[in-house]
Structures are given as structure tokens and as C-alpha cells.
Amino acid sequence: MTRPFVEIDHVAMRYGGVDGTLALQDCSMNVQEGEFVAVVGPSGCGKSTLMRLVTGLWPATEGNVIVDGSEVDGPVTIAGMAFQSPTLLPWRRILANVMLPLEVTPEHRGRLRRERPQYEARARELLKLVGLEGFDGKYPYQLSGGMQQRTSLCRALIHEPKLLMLDEPFSALDVFTREELWAVMQDVWMVRKPTVILVTHDLREAVYLADRVLVMSARPGRIIAERKVDLPRPRTLETTYTPEFQALTADLRRYIAAARSGEEVTI
């Protein structure tokens, strides 16, 4: 087996000094290159914290985080991120919003000026993929919440990151938009094969999208269970009605219930 792309090794994270909140403790997980992993767990258990550690935005207080073979000791420069809120820049048009990462990443910023038309074409293509064709000249306030969230996904993808960190990106959307975006996300992943870590509260979402689902304990968080999802791809809404799918979500639901009540669970 090749070396994992992301290795988290007995990591602990405490916010704000010696007697601050202990968000993570003894947390270990591995993610293979090109793998799609979902992390589920009770609210406040440290999932967003885990994202910050993997991307190097915060240093871990204990343990090691290794990404792409080297230890993380500052912000990584390769990750695309998307959050629950779209966090677009209201003074930029949609196309310029999507292209923001290109102006920042060391790899692209130098080439952007010379190859702007190619890059713009790439951004338009992405927008088309998420169903936003023709909206590139609009401002964010002219788009609905779901459309803004799609834009935010495009922004996370434009520089073709090897690592995609998604922190509940679909949770503020209505069920129909959400399910539509699952399919879009799956398409993008199947074409580009980035390594994805997706945090979600929605177990159906986790099983639909991921190769593997990790369950976290209540705070201080650590990984207490893991489920491989072997359903064939591309998965569709039909897949979610199959007995295998339902059995998996039911399993996960039991783990979460146990994690919330603080019980030990056996895998």
C-alpha cells in the first residue's frame, strides 16, 4: 500500500492556553491519495478544528500532521476549501470570485496575466458544470443562496487542488439543491480525483459521496468508527433507496447516537 496522502497521527488540539477547550485528543486517521473521505460526528466535536489542522491553519498542540509526504508546519498552499457559508466577495463579479485563488496561489499567480483567456475559459467551464452558465457577469447578491454556494465550490476547484477540504458545504441548502450538488460533486471528483475530506451532518450525504466514512466521538474528538462504502459509482438518487445504502446509514446513525451519549462503541 502506498503512503497515505494525509496522515494524522495521535493529534491533540487545545484552544486558548493550558486550560482552554480541548477540541481533539488522540485523533488519528489516514486518507489515501484520490480518496473521498467523509467525517461525521456530533456538533462541536472538533470537525472544523480537524480541517484547520490538516490545512495547517492552526498548529496541533500534540501529534503530527503529514500531508503529501511532508510534515505540516504552516498553511499548506494546495488546498481548496469551501464552507457552510459561501463567503464570496460582494464587490467582485462571479467570474472574478471564482478566479480569486488563481491570483493567490504561487503556482498560478505568475501565469495568470499571460494566460488569462485560458483561465477564464476554465472558470466558465466549471460554472457550466455546476449549472451556472451565463451567470459569470453577475454580482453575488444577484444570485440565490444555492447559486452562491455553487460559486463557492467552483472557487474551491478552480486551481485543481490536490486536496479539497469541504466543511458542511451543502448544509445551508434545501434538500433538492443539495442532492443535485451531490451529483455535481461526484462528477467533479470522478474526473479530477482530488483527495477530498468532507465534513457533514448528513449521513445520506456521507454515504452517497464518500469511499469511506469516519465517525468522531463527542468532544474531545477522535475517530471511533469507520465504514467503507463499496457502492458502485456513479451513485444516483436511486442508490440511496437500495437496502445496502440504507443499512450503511442506519449503522452510522447508531454510531453517532452512541458517540453523542458518550458510550464506547466497538467497530
Binding site: R52, T55, G56, S85, T87, L89, W91, A156
Partner: protein
């Protein structure tokens, strides 16, 4: 467009007409209020026979303006010049310090108490020191205008930069963005609405500063003109100076507002209307 029933159409048209009337009224309202104020003023002065050296009637003020137009004009230009010079310095200094305070916790912690203390000092009290340092001339009014209009700009620019959403910072930092990139790409554009809101406050208080200094150290300008006129009990001329100052204040305010609307329309078109903090 789909057909509307005659009643719906009539209702729609009457609503549209009402909205148009309202917009027209809103455009005229400031002029109506100002005109009304002067009319009321004139009536009260004439009706109660108030003496000219207590409260001159608007027509006395106008006469005074016509008679003294040359000194009024020269002194207003001096005041305007000092105000704009001080205001320009306040913009440069205020933006630089605002960016520093808004982007660095260290600078914020270190400087903010001092800034607050400094802002609480009445600027009238500083003018004598400025006169000792720079002598009577254009520098005391310029520097007083600077000192008084500096603070709102600093506070607002710092607020705009310090309140960048943490998630947005995370997105950029995980791409390898340096703090400078974040300030340029996000902090500064985001601070613009705050900056312009502060300009509207700053430009009007800059006048206050310049005129205070001109009346403490009478060299030139509207402040001196008012001092001289009042020592001669030429009250209409005092009022003429005050009204011209108010007029210049409004014009500069409009200019700031116009630039604001042209450059930061995004802030008010979206759902989150940015309100300026402090000032």
C-alpha cells in the same frame, strides 16, 4: 407580459405613480426644508422686530454677503484650502494607521488606548501649542483639521479590515496567501464602504478644526473673518461667514457621497448594508 385584469392594471399604475411622486418629493425635500427655514427665520425676525445685532434677518445677511463678497470669498478659499490640506493628510495618515491597526493585533493593542486618549483632548486646547511650534499662519488650521478628522478615518478603516470573515481568511491562507495578499485582495476593498462613511464625517469636522484654529490664531480664513466681524458687532457678516461655511461643508459632503456611490455601490445593493462604526 401576461394580460392583467383592468382593476389590477389600474392598481399597478396608481402604485407606480405614487412611487414616482414620492421620489420627486424626496429629491426636492432638502431644498424645501432649507427654503422654509429661511422663510420662517425672516418672518420671525420681522414680526418680532428683532434687532439686527442680535439676529439679523436672511435679507440682511444676503446684503452683507453682497457688500463684503471679496473678503468673504478670499477667506472662504483660505479656509477651504486649509481644510482640504488637513483632510488630505488625515486620509493618508488615517488609512495607513487604520490598515496597521486593523491587520495587526499587536499594533491594535499597543496604539488604541493612546489614540482614544488623544481623541478625547479638545482640539481647541492644542491650537496654542501649534501656534508656539509653527507660529501664526496656515499651519495651525491645517494641523487642527488634520488632528480632528484623523480619528474617524482610522477607526473605520481598521474596523473594515479587522472584520474580514475568518472563513474567507482560511480559504486564502490555505492557498498560500500572505497576510499582505489578504489585506490587498479582501481587507482594503471590504474597508472601502467604512472608509467613505468616515470621509463624510471627517470632511465636515475638518472644517470645524480649521475654523477653530483660525479664530484662536487669527491670520486669515473664515474663522478670522468671524472674529473680526463680531468684534465690530457686524452680526450679519458673522452669519454670512457661518452660512458660507455650512454651504462648503454640504458641497464637500456631496462630493464624498458621490464618490462613495460610484465606487462602493455593491455594499448597499446587496442585502447586508454596511453601517459605519464610531466616528
Amino acid at each position: 407580459m401576461a394580460d392583467m385584469s383592468p382593476r389590477a392594471l389600474a392598481r399597478y399604475q396608481s402604485m407606480a405613480a405614487a412611487a414616482r411622486r414620492q421620489r420627486r418629493l424626496e429629491a426636492w425635500l432638502p431644498w424645501i426644508v432649507i427654503g422654509g427655514m429661511f422663510a420662517l427665520w425672516e418672518i420671525i425676525v420681522v414680526a418680532f422686530g428683532i434687532a439686527e445685532f442680535i439676529l439679523p434677518a436672511p435679507h440682511d445677511i444676503v446684503n452683507s454677503m453682497i457688500r463684503w463678497w471679496r473678503p468673504l470669498m478670499q477667506d472662504s478659499l483660505v479656509t477651504l484650502y486649509c481644510t482640504l490640506a488637513g483632510f488630505g493628510m488625515a486620509i493618508v495618515g488615517g488609512v495607513l494607521l487604520g490598515v496597521a491597526i486593523g491587520s495587526s493585533q499587536m499594533v491594535y493593542k499597543g496604539l488604541y488606548p493612546l489614540l482614544i486618549a488623544f481623541n478625547s483632548i479638545p482640539k481647541v486646547a492644542v491650537v496654542p501649542i501649534l501656534i508656539i511650534w509653527f507660529g501664526i499662519g496656515v499651519w495651525p488650521p491645517i494641523l487642527t483639521a488634520f488632528l480632528i478628522s484623523f480619528f474617524p478615518i482610522v477607526v473605520n478603516v481598521a474596523t473594515g479590515i479587522a472584520t474580514v470573515e475568518p472563513e474567507l481568511k482560511d480559504v486564502l491562507r490555505a492557498l498560500g496567501a500572505k497576510p499582505r495578499d489578504i489585506i490587498i485582495k479582501v481587507g482594503l476593498p471590504r474597508a472601502m464602504p467604512y472608509f467613505f462613511a468616515s470621509l463624510k464625517i471627517a470632511v465636515t469636522v475638518a472644517f470645524v478644526g480649521a475654523i477653530i484654529a483660525e479664530s484662536v490664531a487669527p491670520n486669515a480664513g473664515i474663522g478670522r473673518l468671524i472674529m473680526v466681524a463680531s468684534s465690530r458687532f457686524d452680526v450679519p457678516l458673522v452669519f454670512a461667514g457661518l452660512i458660507i461655511t455650512g454651504f462648503m461643508g454640504i458641497v464637500l459632503y456631496w462630493i464624498a457621497e458621490y464618490i462613495e456611490r460610484r465606487t462602493t455601490g455593491w455594499a448597499t445593493r446587496g442585502q447586508n448594508q454596511n453601517l459605519a462604526a464610531g466616528g
